[in-house]
Every structure is written in structure tokens, then in C-alpha cells.
């Protein structure tokens, strides 16, 4: 009987140990994304609209206050700005391309951002298929378009890209490769296309989308400033708190981003609060 009890106790320990090991080994593996369906407070259309407004403000600010004002003070901007021998900053379309690349660089936020047109400078940026159809509609009603790209499994939005500054019109009209030279202020020169793999997002995911865009803008602006430091033939602009309207100078990325935040804060907050 004693031996039997001893054996039973031993068996119980082994069983307990096996249960503990089994339980530890079979703990559920945490998911990469913790957002659940009930947390998804914003439709992807709402999220696209918020981040698109951020983009409108950032690009207009860059076009007017950096490119437009900077050109008058001697700063140069070029489509080949990334080439070593070109001493210039990014044109607005390439500034956007830089942001789009930065958003995807870390791969944390699966947000896609693209720029196209029916009269692009580079023919490879011309809309085709569904985008061309929707852009034709957009030219008439000036409204954003939303659709699901079934082949790509991506929720997609297109927002009109208006010629909001004189520099947009003059640069495109005078570009040697332009396919249209009669642009006027207020024209829809193209459209930004945004993609995201889900139909709705949580507050955290929306925050991630907005911050991915803002960080992309700051990092692209920083890349421009880094490039100016390699200038050999042109003067290196002073980087600080002042804007190009006051001289041959550039604001720091933080100052630029603060201004974007200041200009977008009301609309972004309204979007988040759904007002």
C-alpha cells in the first residue's frame, strides 16, 4: 500500500510537470496586429481622408514656402536631385515620392501612396484602367474616389491633386517633357492614390498611418537638408528656424513638421472625432 501511494504521488508529480510544460508550450502565440474587429472605429475611407488632408497641407507648404519662395532666393530644385552631381532639392512630386518610399521603408504601416495623372511629365506615370476611368470622373466632379482593388487585395482611394501654387503651374507648363502646357491655378493636375489592406482601422492604426506620413515628410525633408551639406559649387543654405522667404535658408525638419501639424491640427482632430 505504501509503495502504491509512493508510486501514485510520483505519477501525480510527473503528470503535474507534464501539464505545466504542456500548458507553457501551448500558450497562444500573440498576433502581430492586436486590433480586433470591435476596435476598428474608422472606415478606411475616413482614414484615407484624414491622411490625405495632411498630405495636401504638407505638399502645399513645401511647394509654396520651400520651392516657390526658395527659387526666388536662389535655391534650386530638380527632378534628378538625388544624383550626386546635381546640387538641388526635390521637386514637390519627388518630395511626395520620397514620403511614399519612407512610409514603406520600415514596413510597419502597410500604407501605399502614389502620384499619377492623365498628363504626367513621365509617361510611365499615366493612369491606366480603373484609375484612368475614375480620374476622368474626378475631373468632372472634383470628388475623391474609393474602390477595392480585388486583384491586389487593397482598399484604394484617389484624391484630386490641385495646382495650389504658382510653382505647380509654371514648372509643369515650362517642363521640356510636358504633355500639357496650359495648366492654370486650381486645375486638377493629377491624383494621389492611397492603398491599405484592410477596410477599417483602430485608433492606434489610424495614429500609425498619420505618423507614418508625418515621419515620412520629416525624413524626406531631412534627406534634402543632408543633400545640401554635400553641395560643392552652390552655397550651403543655413538650416534653422527661418524659412526661405527670408533668405537663402531652410527650416529644420522639426520646424517644417510643426508647421504641418499646426495647419492640419483642426481638420485632423475633426476627422478623428468624426465632427
Amino acid at each position: 500500500m505504501k509503495t502504491f501511494c509512493k508510486l501514485n504521488r510520483l505519477q501525480s508529480y510527473v503528470l503535474l510537470l507534464l501539464t505545466t510544460v504542456g500548458f507553457y508550450n501551448c500558450q497562444p502565440l500573440p498576433e502581430e496586429s492586436t486590433a480586433t474587429v470591435s476596435n476598428k472605429k474608422y472606415s478606411i475611407e475616413e482614414a484615407f481622408t484624414i491622411v490625405s488632408k495632411e498630405n495636401d497641407v504638407a505638399r502645399t507648404l513645401y511647394t509654396k514656402a520651400i520651392v516657390g519662395a526658395g527659387k526666388k532666393k536662389g535655391l534650386k530644385f530638380d527632378e534628378d536631385w538625388e544624383k550626386d552631381h546635381i546640387e538641388a532639392g526635390p521637386l514637390p512630386a519627388l518630395f511626395l515620392r520620397g514620403i511614399a518610399g519612407d512610409i514603406r521603408k520600415k514596413g510597419e504601416v502597410p500604407l501605399g501612396l502614389f502620384l499619377g495623372s492623365d498628363f504626367p511629365i513621365r509617361k510611365s506615370n499615366k493612369f491606366k484602367g480603373k484609375q484612368a476611368e475614375l480620374f476622368a470622373e474626378m475631373r468632372k466632379d472634383e470628388k475623391p474616389k474609393f474602390f477595392y482593388d480585388a486583384e491586389n487585395k487593397l482598399y484604394t482611394a484617389m484624391f484630386p491633386d490641385f495646382a495650389s501654387a504658382g510653382a505647380c503651374v509654371s514648372c509643369h507648363n515650362q517642363h521640356p517633357e510636358t504633355t500639357k502646357s496650359d495648366w492654370v491655378l486650381g486645375d486638377i493636375q493629377g491624383a494621389t492614390t492611397w492603398t491599405y489592406p484592410e477596410d477599417s482601422v483602430s485608433f492606434e492604426e489610424l495614429e500609425g498611418i498619420i505618423m507614418a506620413y508625418r515621419n515620412g515628410a520629416a525624413n524626406t525633408f531631412q534627406k534634402y537638408i543632408d543633400k545640401t551639406k554635400t553641395f560643392k559649387e552652390s552655397d550651403i543654405p543655413v538650416v534653422g528656424e527661418e524659412w526661405p522667404s527670408g533668405g537663402y535658408q531652410l527650416p529644420s525638419p522639426n520646424i517644417f513638421l510643426d508647421s504641418v501639424g499646426l495647419l492640419t491640427s483642426e481638420e485632423t482632430l475633426n476627422g478623428i472625432l468624426k465632427l
Binding site: 497562444p28 502565440l29 518610399g101 502614389f114 509617361k123 482593388d149 491586389n152 484604394t156
Partner: protein
């Protein structure tokens, strides 16, 4: 006293031998010097000295957790699948070492709806569509005229070439694109302005097969090394 039959004895010895051989095989094949026996084929150019785990990183969790997660996913109790054994070798893994600010054709750009045909023709959103690993070459894409998928309308008013781009496209001479331009744009060189100065197609094919770069030896960015990657992680 139980009497064990000779048949059972033989079965027991057979099982023990099987377990022993399996254990020896498992341990032997796990040794780094025997990686070649597990590999699907020779590693591509530039990857020859990489360790298996550099790309085939062990998946999160243990096998029980991985199996459980996939069962839960199959019955709808989990949103995402879990990697089993090793993490999936996807674009992210390639970009950990090869992501560059100056990439002229970054993968994400082809996610735009208008590139549907290019995705269908070339699979341009996946690195491995052109750089399928374990083939012992640099590029597995054999059609060097692939620029056709997106650049059929190219026309330049200030064309630097003696024969215009439009004319070359009209003649469907798609092989000539790579004779002046490298796809990812990382080599430091100037494109030729005359067709007679362009890179011969044979040299480009040799480069695809693993030969030296005909564009330039010098690059703007170099891939992250295995050591740098380990330090980063």
C-alpha cells in the same frame, strides 16, 4: 514472468535502431558545415557565404504554439497564420539588407492598381520573381526586355540618344533598355548616348548569370553584411 516473443524483440530493436539513426541524421544535418545537404540548390551570387538562418530565421514560438496558432486560424479563431518552423522568406527579409533610398524601381511602387499587367507578367511586387534563390545565379529573370511592361509609351522631347527612345520602342528593341540603364539604378555610371557605346547583350546576360557588373563596379549603396545585420538585430 512475461515472455517476450522474438518478433517483438526484433520490432523493439528495429525501432531503437530507427530512432538512433534519425537522431544521428538530425544532429549531423544540423551542423553548419552540412548546410549544403539541406539546401535546395547553390546560393545566388553574393549570397554564397550566408548562413541558412540569415534568411530562414526561426519562427516565433515553439512548434506546439505554431501548430496551435495555425489550427486556430483554420477554424477562424485567429486573424493571421503563424510561420511554422522558419519565418517565411519574403520581401522584408530581402530588404533587411538590400533596401536603398535610391532604388529606381522599389517594389511598393508596383502595388498601384495601374501596374496590374506588370504584376501579372513579371510579379514585380516580389523580389523572388527576378531573384529566385538557390539557383547559383544573380538574376533568374531570363527575358531582358521586361521594361516593355511599363514603358511602352516612353517618348522624350530632348532625347539624348542618336536613335530616339520612341524609335527603339517602335522597333520593339526592348533588349536595348538594359544596355544603358540598370534596373535598380545603384551603379555609378553615365548612360551611353550612342548605341555603339552601349553594353553588349551578352555581357548583360553574363551579369544575370552571376558575372561582374558591366555597368560599373562602383555602387552608391552596398548591401548590409551578415555581421551588420546581426548587430542591427
Amino acid at each position: 514472468m512475461f515472455k517476450i516473443s522474438r518478433k517483438r524483440k526484433r520490432q523493439f530493436i528495429g525501432m531503437c535502431t530507427g530512432v538512433f539513426i534519425s537522431a544521428i541524421t538530425y544532429v549531423t544535418l544540423s551542423l553548419p558545415q552540412n548546410d549544403d545537404y539541406l539546401s535546395k540548390g547553390p546560393l545566388n551570387t553574393g549570397h554564397e557565404n550566408l548562413k541558412c538562418e540569415t534568411c530562414h530565421t526561426p519562427a516565433k514560438g515553439n512548434v506546439f504554439q505554431q501548430a496551435q496558432a495555425n489550427v486556430m486560424h483554420a477554424v477562424g479563431l485567429r486573424r493571421t497564420e503563424a510561420d511554422f518552423g522558419a519565418q517565411n522568406v519574403d520581401n522584408k527579409k530581402c530588404l533587411d539588407c538590400h533596401d536603398r533610398a535610391n532604388d529606381r524601381h522599389p517594389l511598393h511602387r508596383f502595388e498601384e492598381p495601374r501596374f496590374a499587367q506588370a504584376r501579372k507578367d513579371l510579379g514585380v511586387t516580389e523580389c523572388e520573381s527576378c531573384h529566385q534563390e538557390h539557383n547559383g545565379v544573380r538574376i533568374t529573370q531570363t527575358n531582358i526586355g521586361y521594361c516593355q511592361s511599363c514603358h511602352e509609351d516612353t517618348e522624350m522631347k530632348n532625347d539624348p540618344l542618336e536613335v530616339s527612345h520612341k524609335e527603339l520602342i517602335g522597333q520593339k528593341r526592348w533588349n536595348t533598355c538594359l544596355q544603358c540603364h540598370d534596373f535598380h539604378g545603384n551603379h555609378i555610371f553615365h548612360a551611353a548616348e550612342s548605341l555603339k557605346d552601349t553594353i553588349p547583350v551578352q555581357e548583360i546576360k553574363a551579369y544575370f548569370a552571376g558575372g561582374n557588373s558591366p555597368y560599373a563596379e562602383e555602387k552608391k549603396y552596398y548591401a548590409t553584411t551578415e555581421e551588420e545585420l546581426e548587430n542591427k538585430n
